[in-house]
Symmetry: C2
């Protein structure tokens, strides 16, 4: 049987998507071979790749002056690719710090440019929060402003899109497709696939046309957005199977009401879980209400000596991968699109039962 | 039904491997989730990843002073990563040209170093061949010597490993695991997975320990062999499903007698196909006998006006993807490990029948 999987990434995929992939794994649409055995330049495969892009454009309402790139290397390779692509004309960029991932992005960018760091983490009434934009020391002459919409490890998320007249560049690895988004407010959006899109090994970059040709001379050719855009992300062989699976996820999202419907369910899921945590003396979430992630919910138990038992009993109840990130400990429930409301309800039921027995 | 697939890459995978992947796609070993839904840092996944490496080490008899890296980006990203990793102390390298892929590697290396190009392509009695090493103008002070063992597009392969006291760096994308290889003769071997290893999206780098820390300062952090080696190829999330599938291919190879047994069959397959082509007035292969690839067999028809009909009839006979690379035209049969002898026999039977009807 399929368990409920709260892994932060690689993460749960919709069961219906995996069933479709399974059915056609050895013989794709009667062609006598697997989709993963096909040339990326074959007519059949190109149609699959193009449909995936078209469906994503529909889901996110991506304007025509943006390119969608299906790349490899994860968001972490984009930590290098972004400054290498965008700092060729102007070496300055603003990076907003709210957690571990935005810090990693900053450290890599500092190797290639003149980076102004804005510390935006604060504590309000003992809870972690993101400071108001009025307190940020943004530059007047940055080539772009970078932030991570949702910190997967910390479980802290921006309540609003920052306001700036500079190109806004944002890591949406753990929040893409979880809620409607006005893409036109961004210069560039990027996301590793392995949370809300598909399997690990694929990275989406949605980039505005005017940012395609500002690369630094030392950039590895394959990382150049301009060439990847010109070649439909096929400068070399892309991760064809991951691209195909992501396409199946996009079809599944469209069949289930798109991003709006997902957002509605994601709000229900997160309200259910945060609501239960807040009502309990046994569990605690460390994030201020306005910056709570609707995708990654970290929580601690009243007594951390019970952590191991909690994880063990959860697993026995088919509730998997609830351990917090190795750098912070505690628990974390990642409740991406593919985790259904029933899964969150089952988690809350288990948490309540556990608290009653051990609280 | 499964057809015979002669695609150059992404290429045929063993049917038994796909069947195993299919059986456990939704529920890996009763754990309630797909292997692609698991954290790359989970105990279960790490065991899968480590077994894949151990099996590859066994198959290729890789010495202990070599690291095996499971990376993303394809061989083409290695065209950048190799000079960025190896030219930090000495900017000079020798690149041997034998076709389109070695030329691409050279062009990218020229962006990072002082590259001595050795043109090693020649014609002997009208057939393409690789010149003797005695004719090469190798440098005395190169940081490394680069060549492509097998040119996938041209169908031209080195008969021997070049002799040098410099680190030998070689692209084995289309010939890795096709024949026994003395890894200790190399500084670095690299290969995109999508020909003889697994699905697209994974790249193997086998690199000698002393080459791990000679990187140039501008190298993107994720491309550094030293850090990837220290982190077991998990500096960030790797292409977990492609790694798993490659592990299944390695198991399949071990079950079928390993690289020695594959080589024996590959020699039979290539002898059968080249033998038939040479016996025919209707088909022609342009490569000198000593440099014929045992993996990629390009051939032309006596009348290229028949190409389209040939491809169409081949497909009707379940013989897929025989068109030559778009840059050269004609036909190409890629006969990697996963293409069985019966497939090559079926191809020869069809070719003979076609020639009799149209010759």
């Amino acid at each position: 049987m399929r368990a409920y999987n709260f892994c932060a990434g690689p993460a749960a995929l919709p069961t219906a998507v995996l069933e479709k992939a399974q059915a056609e794994l050895l013989d794709w649409r009667g062609k006598g071979l697997s989709i993963m055995e096909m040339s990326h330049r074959s007519k059949d495969y190109v149609a699959v790749a193009e449909k995936a892009e078209a469906d994503l454009r529909k889901l996110m309402n991506i304007p025509e002056n943006y390119k969608v790139l299906f790349l490899q290397g994860g968001a972490s390779l984009q930590f290098s690719a972004i400054p290498l692509n965008l700092l060729g004309k102007n070496p300055k960029a603003d990076y907003i710090h709210t957690g571990i991932w935005s810090e990693k992005a900053t450290k890599e960018a500092q190797r290639y440019g003149d980076i102004n760091i804005i510390e935006a983490g604060t504590k309000i009434d003992g809870k972690l929060a993101i400071t108001e934009q009025s307190q940020w020391n943004l530059s007047n002459d940055a080539a772009y402003v970078h932030y991570a919409d949702n910190e997967t490890i910390g479980g802290i998320q921006f309540a609003n899109i920052p306001e700036t007249d500079k190109p806004l560049v944002s890591d949406f690895s753990s929040s893409i497709l979880s809620a409607p988004l006005d893409v036109s407010k961004f210069g560039l959006i990027y996301a590793g696939a392995q949370k809300n899109i598909g399997p690990a090994g694929l990275t989406l970059v949605i980039v505005r046309d005017d940012l395609l040709d500002q690369a630094k001379p030392e950039i590895p050719s394959l990382l150049k957005y301009g060439s990847q855009a010109k070649n439909d992300s096929m400068v070399n062989t892309p991760a064809t199977y991951a691209w195909y699976l992501s396409g199946l996820v996009f079809e599944w999202l469209l069949e289930h009401g798109g991003v709006e419907a997902m957002h509605k369910t994601n709000l229900e899921k997160s309200k259910l879980l945060y609501g239960y945590i807040d009502s309990s003396d046994f569990y605690n979430n460390p994030i201020a209400v306005q910056n709570r992630s609707i995708m990654n919910v970290p929580f601690t138990l009243a007594d951390e000596a019970l952590d191991k038992l909690f994880l063990q009993e959860a697993e026995e109840n088919h509730l998997l991968n609830l351990a917090g990130h190795r750098s912070v400990g505690g628990m974390r429930a990642s409740i991406y699109n593919a985790v259904p409301l029933e899964g969150v309800q089952a988690l809350v039921n288990f948490m309540d039962d556990f608290a009653k027995r051990h609280g």
